[in-house]
Symmetry: C2
Subunit: 361 residues, 2 copies
């Protein structure tokens, strides 16, 4: 478990991961995994037991730093992602969170048309988010210098969904009632969120993150005629703010259930699109051309199968992308808590071996 200490002396901006996002040549495909720091690791569960809830873990830089680094000690990963949550922003805006076991996060009050915008606290919001910037800086300091660190945030639409619904939802009835009856208030909320998310991501980059990711978890529930106006336009705005402030920092957009919007997502100015497992890599590559890199997209359930199946499915997936740069290997969604840690080892070795062969023709 000394992977963490390895430093091959390559400057981080020339790392495989950053090069892949810039669609530069490679000798193998870089790999990291969404939620690679998480409950499937016994050492994570050990730290988690020391705190009241998931939220306390996010808010304590020393512990968040430690769990960010845990997977790097076990596996030869090509990137780390800061341990945090997309709900840090609503929380800092005055929407307090309670984490309940099995139910996930629940807001103590919800955002609605009446209390609406006057209840949002934006003044000095970055002071209330300082613990995230502190975590980023601490991880950066304690991480191998050649491995890039990813900062992240939720998309404005996805954050609005949580703020209006008060929790994760199946139907999003409140969100849609708000959207259909108060489109102007929705735009006001999304605008505020886009500004805060932009500044938040830029500050993560300034604190030590080499790449930034926007999680559009709920983009896939949107009625077609609202998707661009109420979602993608705000992601576009964020990407442009980041590019202006830190032009060297690539931005990756993850969308779930948004495979039919790939060309439009590619036009936001982002450097990479992270794909869910339903998207054919060969088709996606054809659709976006050399405009953006692609990240993904192994079906997370593959990691629950035998080693033989894991090797077979990864090999097929890498071959479906084919040779050439512009691919970051990842799952199509986060690792689930029931994954065997050994399965992740098999994944990483397979990606390394198969993609080396592919790169060597």
């Amino acid at each position: 478990m000394n992977v963490l200490l390895k430093n091959e002396g390559i400057p981080v901006e020339n790392s495989l991961f950053i090069r892949a996002l810039n669609r530069q040549s490679h000798d193998r495909t870089p790999v990291w995994l969404m939620r690679q720091a998480g409950r499937y690791l016994p050492e994570y569960r050990e730290i988690r037991q020391k705190v009241r809830d998931f939220w306390e873990l996010c808010q304590t830089p020393e512990l968040a730093c430690e769990v960010t680094l845990q997977p790097l000690r076990r596996y030869a990963l090509d990137a780390a992602i800061v341990f945090s949550d997309i709900l840090t922003i609503p929380h800092a805006m005055g929407f307090s969170l309670a984490f309940q076991e099995k139910k996930g996060p629940v807001f103590e009050k919800v955002f609605n048309h009446e209390n609406a915008l006057k209840d949002i606290q934006v003044d000095n919001i970055h002071e209330r988010l300082a613990y995230v910037y502190d975590t980023v800086a601490m991880v950066r300091k304690n991480m191998p210098k050649d491995i890039p660190l990813i900062g992240f945030a939720g998309s404005p639409w996805t954050l609005a969904c949580y703020m209006i619904e008060g929790q994760s939802s199946r139907d999003f009835d409140k969100v849609f009632q708000f959207l259909y009856h108060h489109p102007e208030s929705m735009h006001e909320l999304l605008n505020i969120l886009a500004d805060v998310v932009s500044a938040y991501l830029i500050k993560q980059a300034q604190s030590g993150a080499q790449a930034l990711m926007i999680f559009d978890t709920w983009g896939g529930i949107m009625p077609a005629l609202n998707y661009q106006r109420f979602n993608l336009n705000y992601i576009h705005k964020i990407v442009h703010s980041i590019r202006a402030a830190c032009p060297e920092t690539p931005v990756v957009v993850f969308g779930k259930g948004t495979a039919h919007w790939l060309p439009e997502i590619a036009q936001t100015g982002c450097q990479g699109i992270s794909l869910d497992w339903t998207v054919d890599l060969a088709k996606a590559r054809q659709l976006v051309g050399d405009k953006v890199a692609l990240q993904g997209n192994l079906h997370p359930k593959v990691l629950l199968q035998s080693d033989e199946v894991i090797v077979r499915e990864i090999t097929q997936l890498l071959h479906s992308y084919g040779a050439g740069p512009g691919h970051v290997f990842n799952l199509g969604h986060g690792i689930t808590p029931d994954v065997r840690p050994d399965a992740v080892q098999v994944l990483i070795e397979t990606v390394r071996n198969v993609s080396k062969d592919l790169a060597n023709g």
Copy 2:
């Protein structure tokens, strides 16, 4: 409520709905709604109270016929769909069902690799499905002659999901374990299901249905590299069997979360694709060209909003498709039980008025 008795003397094969599926000219867009016979109607709830469960309602032709006709008495709909369920086929194969309030259907045993194919009862299966054919014939006899009747079935993959999981699922862990470890058994199961579904749909057409629909409810959960092999190829097989046996009967494929496969679905030989609410009609029309008609795709949550919002959203949707034939108006998913019956009236009037204006340029 005398809409049912209206018969404008037009032969059913020249009805607006059938003409739209054949992309023939029209003076307005035809409209019907998935689950138009259902819990949002008080007269449906009255009938439902007389029986033990939803399943008994499906299996009693007189009652299933009655609830099929109910929405036609209230609304000027352009098609009816036989009141039934996609799980009739697994049930007839020996997988008994229990309907539990709020939980939905639960199978008394599940399909797994060990008991697998030997437990499936296919001999004389159409005798055990006769109640569906009887319902179709009864509805056809009691319906206005100029309104088309739609028969339907689930896709083999969707039926396999229910049979292997035993019930609706969030994660489909059992399904994917089966798929990844026993692909050959999965193909055997899907092949059997494709044959049964083909014969089932052909018999519905022969009993009086003028159009057929295949519901691929769970196509959207499939990993990209499995979608065509384990799903679309079987839909293709069914469409071809139907076209050979009843070449005059159009086939519509509904997929949820499969918007990124539209060109491939159009190549199954189907006449129409029914779209969920996330798909942009203008883009979809461009993608499939004049190969197939499109059905859909109002966001079902629009029907929970004010009349003003309903009119606005429908108008936008019809304009996004634009002028010209090949569109059947529908929701992007079934009507939910909390819809006001008056909202459906507003929907139908709006579709009629706006689409007439569009057709007249």
